[in-house]
Symmetry: C2
DNA sequence: GCGATAGTGATCGTATACGATTTCGTACCT
DNA sequence: AGGTACGAAATCGTATACGATCACTATCGC
């Protein structure tokens, strides 16, 4: 054991995780200029692994990259938010529908418990915690998706949203209430053995509704 | 003008395009071992840009990569084919539905012309040409998709399929006839101003049907 | 005074070099 | 003869170094 290499084998991987974490937690806010040399020095590695990490993040859409100029953290352009939410509504809806037949009573119970926590959370509203619970809830529903590609797309969507600064519900607090109710409806739909199409539509609408609420608010 | 640098600015980009082309056209067949040094020497560049190109291809799912071992061209695992087709059916269906309102009469006419070519192509069946026309046809329908993320996902799906060796219809020649007819039905649906949901379902089923035909055949 | 242009600094892109890891072949032991 | 352990070759991972490109500023000409 040379040092604390326990982290993640390759330096590229480490760099990737560190930078990604900093973007998600907001240390690097949107528009932040990611300079290879600085990050490399900061992590105590060379620029090559950092460069690779940045390119991976570019592929995931978390940063934008311009040749001979550099990378910047992807902005929370309202248009981008719209695109991301719409895409997520589609792939998440599909993933949830594909998962549904594989969700047993135990998972349903867990999801319901999380949703109850969300309901309580409504009292002394904490956007960050609420968003986290929301992610947990949906995670339970779509993680059983047998198609790994779709699952990957869902994860990427969530990542992008996370990068767009922690809490969706901070923007549209009014959605929180409806959201909890829609969750329960979704659970009952799955329990009752509804068709894949019904579940997909419900899950998609659930997310579209948040998007619509955001649009309605920002337009006023 | 120094040389024939007109290709694509950076060496990474060049390497990416060359390797990708070779995978798609089959020079590097599935399972082929991609050695950084060899490719670098072959392209007359250093290993660093090649490395970056390979990682990009990994992100797109065209190659698999193992640390300290190397990259190999992603295999045509039947399961992979299934996953890719299913994912594509979802995102392509969505992209087509989103495009529909933006497709004018001119585009419809072009698509119909392509489909007629496909119909003629049925006589002296050429799988590769047919597959190309098929891609053109669907391209016309979904390229107007206003959401760039979804469009990107569709392109990635097509790429993966292309990498899985040129012609889908070689595997299920029987599908070709039905496919042409379904195309016409899809066009009429769009012309008649059908709802987004109807169009999405039709487009999705169209692709699912090809998948089902493949499964039915490989099971026999 | 305003615009264009040349110079400078910073950053990226790529090449080369070396250490780390894996894999395969061979020899030895049981 | 079969299996294991050692060693060498191949390949990957990263560091360092240098050339290329871009943004910014100050100066010159109009």
């Amino acid at each position: 054991m040379t040092e604390t290499v326990l982290a993640a084998g390759s330096k590229s991987q480490q760099a990737y995780e560190v930078v990604k974490a900093r973007i998600v937690e907001g240390t690097y806010s949107p528009g932040y200029r990611l300079v290879l040399g600085s990050i490399a020095r900061d992590l105590g590695v060379s620029v090559v692994p950092v460069r690779e990490a940045i390119r991976r993040l570019e592929a995931e859409g978390l940063v934008t990259f311009e040749r001979n100029v550099g990378a910047t953290v992807a902005g929370i352009d309202p248009t981008e938010y719209l695109y991301t939410m719409q895409t997520l509504s589609i792939v998440e809806g599909a993933a949830t529908a594909l998962s549904a037949p594989l969700i047993d009573a135990v998972a349903i119970a867990r999801a319901r418990a999380v949703n109850e926590e969300m309901r309580e959370c409504l009292q002394h509203f904490d956007p960050v915690r609420f968003t986290q619970l929301n992610q947990d809830f949906h995670g339970i529903l779509f993680e059983h998706c047998p198609n790994p590609h779709i699952l990957d797309l869902v994860h990427r969507g969530w990542n992008r949203l996370a990068a767009l600064r922690s809490s969706t519900f901070r923007f549209v607090p009014g959605r929180a209430h409806e959201s909890v109710n829609e969750h329960e409806a979704l659970l009952q739909l799955i329990e009752s053995g509804a068709t894949a199409d019904e579940i997909e539509k419900a899950a998609r609408r659930h997310r579209s509704a948040t998007l619509d609420a955001y649009l309605a608010q920002s337009k006023q």
